[in-house]
């Protein structure tokens, strides 16, 4: 788990990953050694205060070159919310996240449909499965060029879609993955949906997929 000053969802991801039998540590943004880890999560929050633009400063943190190398080696990398924004700014995922169409921060629970299982996040889910997941963002409106969109759709790299688009995202996209499927970003918060007492446990299937990918041995590229 990569921690920037201003991140705030790290405790929640750690708790939910632990609940599912995984083990998570915090890696400070100034560190550059990820060799001890099987998967990387870039959590939500407001890295570096989101000043300038979400993720615009975080991409320069020393840890991000290690994350890029980890991703290039096929390691699972998941960016949640602000983490998704950081991964797009760092060029590890296509597209960008602009302000919500309603020009307001939006915290609510939405229904998302799994549209592709070829990512480390959705491998354990099934296509067409509908998940109730919380969203919590101001800049969650996914946007990309028509050619990028065509490429994402053709390569089945759109992994999650909103059923009732809450923020104006292009093609209702809630999450996308890299060409190899090992780098994924999504705006909804699966870690907030792991306990029925809190309203939904639908996020478990996503985090379990990541844990399962983490346990799979990799051959560095």
């Amino acid at each position: 788990m990569v921690l920037f000053p201003g991140s705030n969802c790290e405790h929640d991801v750690i708790e939910s990953v632990s609940l599912l039998g995984g083990q998570a540590d915090v890696v400070w943004h100034g560190d550059t050694d990820l060799s001890a880890y099987d998967a990387v999560v870039v959590p939500g929050g407001f890295a570096h205060g989101d000043y300038l633009r979400p993720g615009a400063i975080a991409r320069f943190s020393p840890v991000m070159s290690a994350v890029a190398a980890f991703a290039a080696g096929g390691g699972p990398v998941v960016g949640i919310c602000n983490g998704f924004q950081v991964l797009t700014e760092a060029g590890l995922l296509p597209g960008a996240l602009q302000k919500n169409a309603g020009l307001k921060f939006l915290c609510t629970t939405v229904e998302c449909e799994v549209v592709s299982t070829r990512s480390v996040l959705t491998a354990g889910a099934s296509v067409g499965q509908v998940l109730r997941l919380p969203i919590n963002h101001f800049e969650g409106n996914f946007t990309c060029s028509p050619s990028t969109l065509a490429e994402l759709e053709a390569e089945e790299r759109v992994v999650l879609r909103y059923r009732d688009n809450p923020n104006g995202s292009t093609a209702s996209i809630a999450g996308v993955c890299s060409a190899a499927g090992n780098v994924v970003g999504l705006m909804p918060h699966p870690e907030r949906a792991c306990n029925a007492l809190l309203g939904s446990a639908d996020g478990q299937v996503l985090l379990r997929s990541v844990l399962s990918a983490a346990r799979t041995p990799r051959v560095p590229a």
Partner: protein, 742 residues
């Protein structure tokens, strides 16, 4: 200010207060000293008009670890966890600069909580604005909600509830109250006091600028005049930086865990003057402060500006010289600025510790005052008070005979979904939120980063009702406290503590002082009867709007404990097919102080329905049990808008209509009366009889009044609206009212 106005008056001090200062110092104060006294003796910091009355509130219970007087109240929540709670107002700054006023209100209350050693895990925002058809009120409302959203979300503390009220009485003087709750291992409790001669005062966080100078005296302790004067006050509003605060929170919590601080105090109103003098006087020591050591945002700041600036995101930590390097290293990791700005002294030649301000260490002495004099010697006023002259006539003017009018329209006018505001707040962070905004009370799991998960839960409710308190400040406040305790009971919790934010008008008006005194007595009565201690509070006076005082608006926050939070509490919603049962007194109970009388007839006279504290206590106990046992499928207290609004809200949220039994709701009075101590529950028809027996045995009346089903809201002979109309009105009211460009 006029050129010939004496300096003390320009700073907000009266002639008598200036004379007192001269007597304390045994010489005329210099400009810096006068400025320090002016901020510390302001109404906002000294509570000089209210202290006398606040003493009447009950503050003790075995579970109270810290009562009023510290930065926050603290109670023992069980399982080794302590809960810190505080409520504050940021009314005046928000009237002048809504976004920053509200944002810095959030920042300030968070610091009060982590100053105590607790991690802030939830805030709530009771908000009151002028009418929605007024463009300025809409501008203030939008700005305040954006400010809370912008700061609260970014700093990473969820906003789990609050209130949203629009009323003519708050035109130009909104009430922006904010409550914060924090949790900590019980042994991490930190108090804001200095000790140990030679220990160092380390200023953490932001640099000090010219923002917010005199905020507590110029802004918070005076009413508003014309628009131009308000513009001129804008520089007295501070500017917030949530990212700085987030790092400050993490750094401070890490300092506590490492055992590196002796004492700590946040810098809020009155800035460095308050923090240095409070820590010194609480610890019974003195302190030397070196102005040039304070990191300054711009060159050329005068010492009085440095000492009274209200720049945000700053803390004053007292550390031993031996720990200084470790403190600096830890702050450096979190990119938090840390500078030694002073030293604790123990001067045996003086009876009381001195707060001495030097231009630099070993330099010129700029100010020298007894630290405690800034607090303990602050004026204490027993201001004249008297009830309004027309009180008897107002009480005699009951609304009960007013024409009934269009009942369907009156009900629809009361329905408003507040998610326009709450959807802009992160209300889920930390995985504690079981019930967020929109329920009778917010329900949280007891826990937080670094704490073991507990089965226990917390319920929190904030409540106020100016209509009730305008009719009768004493009985109205009693009803507000009763409602708040009932809200936490509806979440299955037993109320254990209360904090209050007393929003009133100008204390120099005898009627306002009477309102304040009456409200405190009403609060005391209910708190004593129910065994709920008051563990902290805030008084906001000089709330005046367009030349008149606001209606008295005491706002309370009640904390409830849930011993075993293993299932979600029933929602404030009807389940299709459920039988609807009213717990508490049935029948017509009077329309005094009701929303109906105010909305439909602009009528604010009469007297309030009676509150029976014994009956209320019984209701609290049985409601808490029913919820804990999962015996009901839906539950909602009867409050503003009476049974009509209660049932309609439950229908809309449950997406199902209802029909009442003929005669169960006898008349229009019974529909809209806001009589206290009543709850509506939904129950499976096969279990209704058992529930009625159980509730009745507990000494609480239970009446089956109808059944949920269909797509209409029908009260026999009185009300008939479609679920679709009710739902649409409820959902669209706020977005439509706020988007009506004006």
């Amino acid at each position: 200010m006029a050129d010939d106005e004496p300096m003390h008056r320009a700073l907000g001090l009266t002639d008598t207060e200036a004379a007192d200062i001269e007597r304390i110092l045994d010489r005329p104060p210099n400009h810096l000293e006068l400025a320090m006294f002016a901020v510390m003796w302001s109404e906002h910091c000294s509570y000089k008009s209210s202290r006398l009355h606040l003493k009447r509130l009950p503050t003790e219970a075995p579970w109270v670890l810290v009562g009023p007087g510290e930065n926050a109240g603290v109670v023992d929540a069980g399982d080794g966890v302590a809960v810190a709670l505080r409520i504050e107002s940021h009314n005046h700054p928000s009237a002048v600069e809504p976004y920053q006023g509200a944002a810095t209100g959030v920042g300030g209350i968070l610091r009060d909580i982590f100053t105590m050693g607790a991690r802030p895990i939830a805030t709530m925002d009771p908000l009151r604005f002028g009418p929605l058809d007024d463009a300025r009120s809409r501008w203030i409302a939008e700005g305040v909600v954006s400010g809370i959203s912008g700061y609260g979300n970014s700093v990473g503390v969820p906003t789990v509830g609050g209130e949203l009220v629009f009323d003519e009485t708050y035109a130009d003087n909104p009430l922006v109250n904010v409550l914060c709750l924090g949790v900590m291992p019980i042994d991490r409790l930190v108090l804001g006091r200095a000790s140990g001669s030679g220990n160092l005062a380390v200023l953490l966080g932001s640099s000090t600028g010219r923002d917010g100078i005199g905020g507590v005296s110029v802004l918070a302790s005076a009413g508003f005049g014309d628009a131009e004067a308000e513009q001129a006050k804008r520089p007295s509003v501070q500017v917030g930086d949530p990212f700085e605060e987030k790092r400050l929170i993490e750094a401070c919590l890490a300092l506590y865990d490492a055992g590196l601080v002796v004492g700590i105090q946040d810098l809020g109103g009155a800035g460095l003057t308050c923090a240095t003098s409070e820590t010194a006087s609480r610890g019974g020591v003195g302190m030397d402060v070196f102005v040039d050591a304070v990191p300054q945002r711009e060159p050329g700041m005068a010492p009085f500006e440095v000492m009274t600036s209200e720049s945000q995101e700053r803390m004053l930590a007292i550390v031993t010289p031996a720990d200084l390097d470790a403190v600096l290293a830890l702050c450096d990791r979190w990119e938090v600025r840390a500078s030694v700005v002073g030293r604790v002294t123990d001067d045996a030649t003086h009876e009381r510790g001195r707060l001495r301000i030097f231009d630099r260490e070993g330099g010129v002495l700029l100010a020298d005052v007894p630290a405690a004099s800034l607090h303990e010697d602050a004026p204490l006023y027993d201001r004249p008070m008297s009830p309004p002259e027309d009180l008897a006539a107002r009480h005699a003017d009951a609304p009960d005979a007013l024409p009934r009018g269009d009942v369907d329209a009156a009900l629809l006018g009361m329905l408003a979904d507040t998610s326009w505001a709450s959807s802009q707040y992160d209300h889920q962070l930390f995985l504690n939120t079981v019930v967020g905004p929109g329920g009778d009370a917010a329900v949280l799991r007891l826990g937080g980063p670094g704490l073991p998960r507990s089965q226990r839960g917390l319920a929190l409710s904030t409540d106020g009702n100016a209509r009730w308190c305008a009719v009768d400040p004493r009985a109205g406040t009693a009803m507000v406290v009763a409602e708040s305790t009932l809200n936490v009971a509806c979440a299955g919790a037993r109320p254990v503590a209360l904090v209050n934010c007393l929003n009133f008008g100008n204390p120099e008006h005898p009627e306002v002082m009477w309102q304040l005194s009456e409200a405190i007595d009403g609060m005391s009565e209910v708190c004593r009867a129910l065994g709920v201690p008051v563990i902290g509070g805030n008084v906001s006076l000089y709330n005046e709007s367009r030349g008149r005082d606001i209606d008295p608006t005491p706002v309370v926050g009640v904390l409830g404990l849930i011993d075993s939070l293993v299932r979600r509490p029933p929602p404030a919603a009807l389940l299709d097919g459920a039988e609807i049962v009213l717990l508490g007194r049935p029948g017509a109970l009077g329309l005094g102080g009701s929303r109906w009388a105010a909305d439909v007839h602009d009528h604010r006279g009469g007297t309030l329905p009676a509150l029976d504290l014994d009956a209320h206590a019984k209701l609290l106990a049985v409601v808490q049990e029913l919820v804990a046992d999962g015996a009901v499928s839906g539950i909602h207290d009867v409050a503003e808008g009476g049974l009509a609004a209660c049932l309609a809200e439950m229908a809309v949220k449950g997406a199902v209509g209802f029909t009442t039994i003929a005669g169960a709701i006898a008349d229009h009075d019974a529909l809209f009366s806001e009589a206290p101590s009543r709850v509506v529950v939904g129950v499976d028809p096969s279990e209704t009889a058992g529930l009625v027996v159980r509730v009745t045995a507990a000494g609480v009346p239970a009446t089956v009044i109808g059944r949920a089903g269909g797509d209409r809201l029908v009260v026999d002979g009185l009300l008939d609206v479609t679920l679709e109309d009710a739902t649409r009105t409820w959902r669209e009211f706020l977005p439509r009212a706020l988007s009506s460009a004006g």
